[in-house]
Amino acid sequence: MLTVDNLSVAFGGLKAVQAVSLMVSQGERVAIIGPNGAGKSTLFNLISGGVRPDAGRVVFDGRDITPLPAHQRARLGLGRSFQRSSVFAKLSAYDNVLAALTIHRGHGLRVWARTTPQRAAEEALAAVGLADQRDRLAGALALGDQKRLELGMVLATAPRLMLLDEPTAGMSPEETAGTVALVQRLADERGFGVLFTEHDMSVVFGVAQRVLVLSQGALIAQGALRANPEVQRLYLGGTP
């Protein structure tokens, strides 16, 4: 589904991501962990098109998408969320999802047409549990609800792979548990893959089938976490 091949980028002298290669197969759930500044967000930006790499390739669905701008990657089914909640603040929750749906269907330039109510938008809103907040302005929603709304927006674009940048950052334990269950359920139902970063280890182990560890821009480990001494040093306190 997604193949990242030898991807590198440097900002000034800082090698933010160095020769990272990874693969996510269809429907797989993969976590990327690593300390702050390890390059997780930069890697996400490289994959989703926010940052251009100095070297390497991103292949999605058998197609080299490295030269494509972010909006074209999104149209191919590569959805993403942001670390800080990112919604259309002055639009209602429903209009947020409706806008996402409009964009997904390629209707964004239809100047001479009417926006019609869409059941798919109601469904996406209901899928993330926000049906009762339908008409509230997105900017007035609680932070956790904004993050769920963003999930609903990405969902409306029928992604085949979702990149989630710290999906539970800033959430209470209850909200976190709810979000984990939600992502699990949606991925089960719709079969999209998930590549996510997260600091909360319970979320990582709860969702991910496989874990990649990023440190100083390089992948230092993947797969069987607990057996790797370096990962233990970074995360699990040194003693097995």
């Binding site: 989703s48 098109g49 926010g50 701008p69 972010a70 909006h71 074209q72 999104a74 149209r75 959805g79 993403r80 942001f82 990112s86 919604v87 259309f88 603040a89 002055k90 639009l91 209009d95 947020n96 409706l98 806008a99 996402a100 409009t102 964009i103 997904h104 209707h107 964004g108 330039l109 239809r110 100047v111 001479w112 047409a113 009417r114 926006t115 963003e150 927006m153 990405v154 674009t157």
Partner: protein, 310 residues
């Protein structure tokens, strides 16, 4: 349905006024409608697109000068010239907008200002063609637009058609997507929007309607002046939208018209109109940043809340 009734009612009043107002008042009312259309065209870009545009007068001026030059220099039929003027404004907006949307926020605004002033200087300097700072006088209009009343009705008719068109565009998937871009360009981009193209399209659509307003000005007054393109003229629809309220379509029309009304009536008593305008602007920004329509909205929701409490 209620909006249709409102529109038809407003149209009936505007047409009916032709039988009541004096020629002077009709000219003023027509000026107000033109200013309203000009502000409305800007508000598509500024209110719906979140792009603060300091060069919108350029397209207003291009619309006016296109009509003037096509009738005066090219000898075209006035109605044909009137139909072509907005298209020429659209062409200018397409080229200038292509450059401007490559930058965002302040840098976008500065670019619009620079391009606007560039066009102003060109028109100012090309004396042989444009009359320079004398402008162009004695423009031809169709024989059936010789009277003040006929010209007023023509302005009313064109205004109503434009308002209906803009109202439809405002309810389009395009505008929903543009509002999404306004609120959060990054989020919109990663959902699949080509942000620059979205902004470019509204820049051209707004420029086209500004061109209509400029051509209407030329027909109504039978002259065009280089001031139409000056950057201070760009501030009028900005202030009009602000006063009327950027969240709606009616707001900028009311705000744009009100500014003309106040200017004409206040300059009769005092030369300090610019100072009064400054005070009005400050009061609006501080006390009613959502403009008049925002005030009405707030007053209504408060009334609703009171009713709910009871």
């Amino acid at each position: 349905m209620r909006r249709q009734i409102g529109f038809i009612g407003a149209a009936a009043v505007l047409v009916g006024l032709a039988g009541v107002l004096s020629p002077f008042q009709m000219a003023l009312a027509a000026e107000m409608l033109i200013a309203g259309l000009f502000a409305l065209s800007l508000n598509l870009i500024m209110g719906f697109g979140g792009m603060v545009h300091f060069g919108h007068a350029a397209f207003y001026g291009v619309g006016g000068y296109a009509y003037a030059l096509l009738t005066l220099r090219a000898g075209l039929d006035p109605m044909l010239a009137f139909a072509l003027a907005p298209l020429i404004a659209a062409g200018f907006a397409a080229v200038i907008g292509w450059f401007c949307v490559r930058r965002t926020r302040l840098y976008f605004s500065i670019l619009t200002l620079a391009f606007g002033q560039l066009l102003y200087i060109v028109v100012f300097q090309a004396r042989d063609l444009t009359g320079g700072d004398d402008g162009l006088q004695g423009l031809r209009v169709p024989p059936w637009l010789e009277t003040e009343q006929a010209r007023y009705l023509w302005v009313v008719g064109v205004f109503l058609v434009c308002f209906a068109l803009i109202r439809r565009i405002a309810a389009s998937p395009f505008m929903l997507t543009l509002k999404a871009v306004r609120d959060n360009p990054e989020r919109a981009q990663f959902l699949g929007v080509d942000v620059r193209r979205q902004q470019w399209v509204v820049f051209v659509v707004g420029g086209t309607f500004a061109g209509v307003a400029g051509a209407l000005f030329a027909v109504l007054n039978r002259f065009v002046a280089v001031n139409m393109l000056f950057w201070a003229t760009s501030s009028e629809p900005i202030l009009g939208s602000l006063m009327g309220g950027m969240g709606s379509l009616v707001g900028p029309v009311i705000g744009g018209g009100l500014l003309i009304f106040l200017e004409v009536n206040i300059t009769r008593f005092t030369l300090y109109w610019p100072m009064i305008l400054g005070i009005i602007t400050i009061l609006f920004v501080l006390l009613a940043p959502d403009g008049l329509t925002g005030l009405v909205q707030r007053w209504r929701t408060r009334g609703q809340a009171d009713a709910d409490r009871r």
